[in-house]
Subunit: 239 residues, 2 copies
């Protein structure tokens, strides 16, 4: 038992790099050996989650389950998934898993509530929007969810696929406009509810961290706290 | 058979993030599914390589072998190790492995030779220097190896451990000076022969890529070419 965390990634690869980087930079470690042990699957042939949910494409569940079980066989004691849309299948994956799992939606909502803000903007994939993955949780807590207009949502999706195609500058230009539109409509804080979005908006988040809830960051912080508890350690999280 | 590449990392974690990021950004992919499949071990409790070689510390070989075999069990068909010093044990690891392995020293030396330069500077750990991991290869090809002076080498090592402790700005300040000293002594090009160094000198390399041979980058390019050959694909490497 060494508190090994398994990252079921590749959805997409750049978002998985971002999660790995946050595990390393959010951990207060004085040497290699003090870092959180991770095993990361970035096998990206998992069928597209949005296509499956919105356009009747192949379900990604069997492939995700296969790669999750490989992580468990390699020794993972806790599974995290740096993809919000994939959390549509979270309960089925949890059913198939023999180890702990942390939900990106739950860990992100914990940070939304802790922010004390009441008007919550949301940037996410069409499928995450359609499923109401965040809207339901936000409204269940008596908060207001401000989603992009239909036209704006199309641009959000275009930006996400642009990043997946390696076109970061084009993705950023498009996404910044959609974030500004949410602030203009009264959002006090914006949930980055797709793990590509913190990569796309990295500079904006760096400049105004208090204006965003980064779902990848929230899941990483929860992962580090899981490790602290499991291993009886403290003060591993950079404040 | 899907051409899964196993990354035996955690030596250190930040260098492993850098390799993962390079696999993603060096691949010409239009969607998630076109990226190189990776499984990455970043379990950093592997005993320090320099301490083992220079100060009689615990050998990292048994732990490295264990983590490499886990990657193979998870389906890896090729192993890469983003740590130069660990390549002291490369032949023993290769002996224990049942799949392909790519050597960071060989792939880096291929790029040194391709550069056509003759006066080769070298930034690496004390142990990599002491073993002559690069000096021997450089001199065997009739090229001149310019290593840091003893005092400068101490600063190189201090810089590497500073990065491992999360102190990037301090690490960069120290390493830039040692690189400049090598150029002043006539180096035409510098081998970044420790995988922490491309992280520490990221800005300098971005500004003058033709002045450096990045060992992490060389191994990633070789990994992408291995995948192309294995899977019968072409044009996956961003030029």
């Amino acid at each position: 038992m060494k508190g090994l965390i398994g990252v079921l990634g590749g959805m997409g690869p750049a978002a998985t790099v971002d999660m790995f980087n946050k595990f390393v930079t959010f951990t207060a470690a004085g040497s290699d050996q003090e870092h959180i042990p991770l095993i990361i699957s970035s096998i990206p042939d998992i069928p597209d989650r949005t296509t499956a949910l919105m356009h009747g494409g192949t379900s990604p569940l069997p492939t995700m389950t296969d790669y999750m079980k490989r992580l468990e066989k390699a020794g993972a004691e806790c599974i995290v998934i740096p993809c919000n849309t994939a959390h549509y299948w979270f309960s089925e994956l949890k059913e198939a898993s023999d180890v702990d799992m942390l939900s990106i939606v739950e860990t992100t909502m914990d940070e939304v509530v802790a922010s004390g803000k009441r008007r919550i903007g949301l940037l996410a994939t069409n499928a995450t929007m359609y499923m109401g993955l965040y809207q339901n949780s936000i409204e269940a807590r008596g908060l207001e969810c401000i989603s992009p207009t239909e036209e704006s949502q199309q641009r959000v999706m275009e930006s996400i696929y642009a990043l997946k195609a390696g076109e970061l500058p084009r993705a950023t230009q498009m996404m910044v406009e959609q974030a500004e539109a949410l602030f203009d409509r009264g959002a006090e804080i914006i949930v980055l509810g797709c793990t590509e979005v913190p990569v796309i908006l990295a500079d904006a988040v760096l400049q105004n961290p208090e204006k965003y809830v980064d779902s990848t960051g929230a899941l990483v912080r929860a992962g580090i706290r899981w490790y602290e508890k499991r291993m009886g350690k403290n003060h591993l999280l950079v404040e």
